[in-house]
Symmetry: C2
Subunit: 168 residues, 2 copies
């Protein structure tokens, strides 16, 4: 009998619990000041991944509305971690970019998370840890998201809201 599906489903259920997310984010953002918390960190981290980009693009990246991005960016900007600058190629666009301080902070935070994770599997054989990392990445990239998320198609332009608020 193939039980892998159930095993993964159970683990995923635990992983997606609100408390797990809250724990992880509170661990990450502990002592980083009021500006960086569970809410702003995804913007923070996403911006570090994409590099300077517009609020709309960043919204696509992290799955949030432009207005939400704007609000969170306000907080980060006020804390000196994020900078708004006009797009030299497009006068109406505003680029969001991390300041040097912001980049340093996000790098330190990413390292903190990575260290925490490595510490949590310190007892694992090295090879199993690497295997796990590889399989998890593949699972996230190919498996789950591909099936559940349209992601890339820039065609619909506006309405990517599909299943999120379905049933309302």
């Amino acid at each position: 009998m193939n039980e892998t599906g159930h095993d993964i489903a159970d683990a995923l259920g635990l992983l997606l619990r609100r408390t797990t997310r809250a724990h992880l984010y509170s661990l990450l953002t502990e002592g980083l000041g009021e500006a960086v918390d569970e809410l702003t960190y995804p913007v923070f981290s996403g911006l570090a991944r994409t590099g300077p980009c517009s609020a709309a693009d960043l919204g696509r990246e992290v799955g949030l509305d432009r207005s939400t991005i704007t609000r969170r960016a306000d907080r980060l900007e006020h804390a000196g971690l994020l900078r708004r600058e006009p797009d030299p190629a497009d006068g109406r666009a505003t680029l969001l970019a991390l300041t040097d301080e912001g980049q340093g902070l996000v790098a330190a935070t990413r390292r903190r998370l990575a260290d925490h994770i490595e510490g949590s599997l310190a007892s694992w054989p090295q090879e199993e840890a690497r295997t796990f990392a590889r399989l998890l990445r593949r699972f996230v990239d190919e498996g789950l998201l591909a099936a559940g998320e349209p992601e890339h198609p820039a065609a619909p332009g506006q309405g990517r809201r599909g299943a999120v608020d379905a049933g309302r």
Copy 2:
């Protein structure tokens, strides 16, 4: 250089995105009626795991306030999926329990999720899938949650938002 920590961190970041959770839950609860959605499903599923228990205990389990549990239980009760019964051992306590219909539905939902997951990694070699399931389970059980738990000393008086009180 050991990059496993960063790899896992990145994958985890994607996994914990709101959209991922929303997509997964909407997929799960699609066509199950108005009572079961992203909001009520954690209560639903958690109750199936714990068996009949009080609202407070279930709140501890899923990391939500008692009042929230009560409201969601109302919806499930109204839909005939959940039953309230007085605790025979304690007159002031109210036990939440799934009805037969509720149990059947949660079982079907779990199977649906498992099938979806298995489908998403259909192209994987059988052995790798099983390995991944085993490692993921271990990672969730031993690694992450265990390390993130010692967050207890939270002052109730403070309006702290992420008052994470992971039972389990």
